[in-house]
Every structure is written in C-alpha cells, then in structure tokens.
C-alpha cells in the first residue's frame, strides 16, 4: 500500500501536505507520533473511512476490498457470545456454516479462548475481550490490517501476552499491516519499519528494522539506539 502525495486538513490544521509513505506487502509498518499529528487519520484513510483532500492511496490488488481493523477498545457485540462475535465477521465472505465454524474456532483457539466460546463480553476481562477482537480481525478475510493502538491501557504482562498472540497469528498468515502506537518499544518490537509522524510533508523519522522479529530483544544495542532516537524525535516533534 502506498500513500501518494496525500494532503489532508481539518480547518486551518494541516495534517498531511503532499505526504508519501510506502508499506511493502505483507509487512508491518509501525506508526508513532505525537497526538493530533494524523496517526488515526492515516488509518481511516487506509480503511476508506476518510477521503484525502489531495493525492491518492494505491493498494495492491490483494489489498483491495475489506480491511481488518483492530481498535483501541475491543468493540465486541455485547449480546453475542465470544464465538458469534468472530463468526459474524465471516458471514459475508463464507457461505458455508462448517467453514465459518472451522475458521472461527481456529483463531479463537490460537488466542487461547477455546474454553470461553459461550461467554458474553461482559463476562470477560479486558485482555480476553481484546483477544476476541484480535481473533475476529485475523478471521476476517482481508489482506490489509489496521491497528489503532490495540494494546494501549493494558498492563505490561497482558500487553506482552497479547502482542505474542498477535504475532503468532500474523506469522501464520502475514498481511500488510499499519500499526499505530504511542509506545516506541512496541513499535520497534512489532514493525518491519517504524515511521514517526510530526511533519505534514514527510515522516520525521523512518527506520527499517532488519532484525528478524523473533530475534529481537529490547536490550539489544541496536534496538536501544533506535529507541533513543525515536524517543528523542517524539520529544522534539
């Protein structure tokens, strides 16, 4: 997916001005940046919820159509069971009940919820709800995945467990992913590249992370150095 010379403004506030960004297929681009610098706008434009004022968004043919969107909050249907919340996201694409069942069960098992299929969102913890949302996002047959700070406001243990669950699913079937976060560590651990917003014309900082994801360690010298640069860029943005 490519953002080509896109422009977007809200009144006098110019968020993007001939801004370009490239996300190679089946990679994760982590996007960080101060609040109000267009992170969510970028996601909404990628999802088709928002039109850029100028420029265009080019997608690979496989990335066209539906998207999987992982929100800050789980956005589950309160009156539906865990299983139904995932299965419903498959109904428009899979007519066979058996097929839907098999896919939903597979992803719910992958996120460790196969024992909670009949529970309702109100009976789940915050972390479990987000796991259901992750399973739904991966079960939905879209090749473009958009993540809007889905691990925000979770305790560190839960965050690590959810990130692990996410990566486990992503490695199984990689999709082009735009991952918006406030956390520099999260951005560096997950992304194939990290982009810092803050200038409407171009990224303030863009870094490819060439260390394999499973070999990354946050105390590694390179990672620490990138984190320092990223934090510095964010502070000075």
């Amino acid at each position: 997916m490519q953002f080509l010379e896109i422009s977007k403004r809200y009144g006098h506030n110019v968020v993007f001005d001939h801004f370009s960004l490239d996300i190679p297929p089946q990679t994760i681009l982590s996007v960080v940046g101060p609040s109000g610098e267009g992170k969510t706008t970028l996601l909404q434009m990628a999802a088709g919820l928002l039109e850029p004022d100028g420029g265009r968004i080019s997608k690979e043919s496989s990335e066209e159509g539906s998207v999987s969107y992982l929100f800050q909050e789980s956005r589950l249907l309160g009156s539906c069971t865990v299983y139904a919340n995932v299965e419903l996201a498959l109904r428009s694409s899979h007519t066979s009940v058996a097929e839907r069942q098999s896919i939903a069960l597979h992803y719910l098992q992958m996120v460790g919820l196969s024992d909670s299929l009949g529970l309702y969102p109100a009976q789940l913890s915050g972390g479990m709800r987000q796991r259901v949302a992750i399973a739904r996002a991966f079960a939905h047959p879209a090749n473009l995945m958009l993540l809007d700070e889905p691990f925000q406001s979770l305790d560190i243990k839960l965050k690590f467990s959810l990130v692990a669950a996410f990566l486990n699913l992503w490695e199984e079937r990689p999709r082009t992913t735009l991952f918006v976060t406030h956390d520099p560590k999260e951005a560096l651990m997950l992304g194939d590249a990290v982009c810092c917003l803050g200038d409407p014309k171009q990224p303030l900082w863009y870094q490819k992370i060439d260390i394999p994801r499973n070999a990354r360690n946050i105390s590694d010298a390179n990672m620490l150095a990138w984190e320092a640069v990223l934090v510095n860029t964010l502070v000075n943005a």
Binding site: S66, Y69, R75, S79
Partner: protein
C-alpha cells in the same frame, strides 16, 4: 436472606396500608365514605361470583391489550424513522409536545364527542401511550453506538446480521422501558375512559355505576380489581421479557460449537 428480608418489608408495608384503611374506616364510621375491609371483601366475592364479571374484565383487558399493541407497533415504526431521520423527528415534535401537554380528561372528552363509547378508551389510551413509547424508541435509535456501527460496516456485516445482533439488542432496554411505561398508562387511561363513556362492559363502567348508586364498597372492589389487572399485566410483561431473554441465551448456546459457558 436478602430476598426474605425484602419480602418481609414488602409484607409489613402492605399490612400497614390495610391497617391504615381499616383504622380510617373505623374512625369515619361511614360505609358510604370509606367502608372497612370485610364489606369490601364481601362485595368482591359477590362480584366475582356474578356472570358478567368475566365479561367486564375481558372487555377492559382486551381494550388495554389492543391499545398497547397498536402503541407498540406504531410508536416503534415512527420512533425508528424519527431516530434515523431528523426531519421526521422535527415534523412530529409539535404533535408529541401537544399530546404530552393535553390533560387525559380533555382527550377522553373530545374522543367521546368524536367516537362511539367502545372506541374512546382505545383512542385515548393510544394518544396517551404513544408519545411515551415513541420518545423511548427515538432515543434508543439516537443512542446506538457509532463505534459498533463502524465496526459492523468495516467487517462487512450483512444488513440482517447488523439488525439482529447489533440494532435490536441495543434497542431492547429502550423498548422494554417504553413498553412497560406505556402498559401501566394504558390500564389507567382505558379504565378512566370507561368511567366517562360507560360502555356495556368494562371495569370503569361498573365503577361508574357503583359510584352513582353510592356503593362505595363496590367502587373499592372494582378499584382493587383494576390494581390487580395492572399488576398481572406487569407480571405477564416481565415474564415475557424473561422468557425472551432465556430463549435468546438458549439459542446463543446452541449456536456455539462445543459450548463451554462458565
């Protein structure tokens, strides 16, 4: 334990009410002003034993049910439209505001001029109950969670799935609140309209005849029956809601493969 305590308090307060009634009757010492509990119970037993009793109850209950169903159906349809389209809501605002402000008696008296005595309770109950239900439904539609709506659209939910799994469940609490209030109102208005229009059968009509003949024990007996009808109506409604909730849970559980609810 908590439940036993609650029921005990309820029982004591009910007994206190009966005690106040009996004490008041003994103090006034007049069967016309306020008869005591025993004569009213006797009158009630005589009433129940008479053949037109069932006709009167049935006539009132049918009028209430008819009005209630008309209110539920029409207010739901119009409420959904008003919640969805601003211009429908604006167009209906003068009507709703006017109807809400008109005293019940004015509506009944006007309806009595326009319609036959059998139709008046229906029409009056509709006019009084419709705004209550309509406002709740309109609010329910306006309060639909936009985040969930966005999620449904991003995940390509089919219209029917969105309706069944998102819209209807989100509207349920508003629908129940509106229906419950409308139902309580319907009983009161139907009986009040029967009192004024005196149809051949009806609780309100019997009440009016008893009042004309200064049979206060009969008036109180019919009042007790009216209270009982309202309570039974509320109980049946609650039972229906509970049944629907249980049925939904049952269907949900059947839809889950290898269900493992806690």
């Amino acid at each position: 334990m908590q439940r036993i305590k609650r029921n005990l308090v309820l029982l004591v307060s009910s007994l206190l009410l009966l005690l106040i009634w009996q004490a008041g009757s003994m103090l006034l010492d007049s069967q016309i002003l306020l008869p005591g509990i025993p004569p009213v119970v006797h009158a009630l037993r005589t009433l129940i034993a008479q053949p037109p009793f069932a006709h009167n109850i049935l006539a009132t209950a049918l009028r209430a049910l008819q009005s209630f169903l008309i209110i539920v159906f029409s207010a739901t349809v119009v409420g959904v439209l008003a919640g969805r389209y601003d211009y429908v809501s604006i167009a209906l605002r003068p009507f709703v505001t006017t109807v809400k402000a008109i005293p019940v008696m004015s509506i009944i008296l006007l309806a009595f001029i326009w319609f036959s005595s059998g139709t008046v309770p229906l029409f009056s109950a509709f006019l009084m109950g419709f705004p209550v239900m309509y406002v709740q439904i309109e609010m329910g539609v306006r309060q639909l969670d936009h985040n969930l709506e966005e999620m449904c659209s991003l995940y390509d939910f089919r219209f029917s799935d969105k309706l069944v799994h998102f819209v209807i469940p989100s509207m349920t609490s508003w629908f129940i609140a509106g229906s419950r209030t409308a139902l309580s109102m319907v009983w009161k208005v139907v009986i009040a309209a029967e009192v004024l229009t005196v149809p051949q059968y009806g609780v309100g009509a019997r009440m009016q005849l008893a009042q004309v003949q200064l049979q206060t024990d009969l008036v109180l007996s019919w009042t007790l029956i009216a209270i009982l009808l309202t309570a039974v109506g509320d109980l049946l409604f609650d039972a229906l809601v509970l049944c629907c909730a249980r049925l939904k849970r049952l269907l949900d559980a059947r839809g889950v493969p290898c269900s493992s609810s806690r």
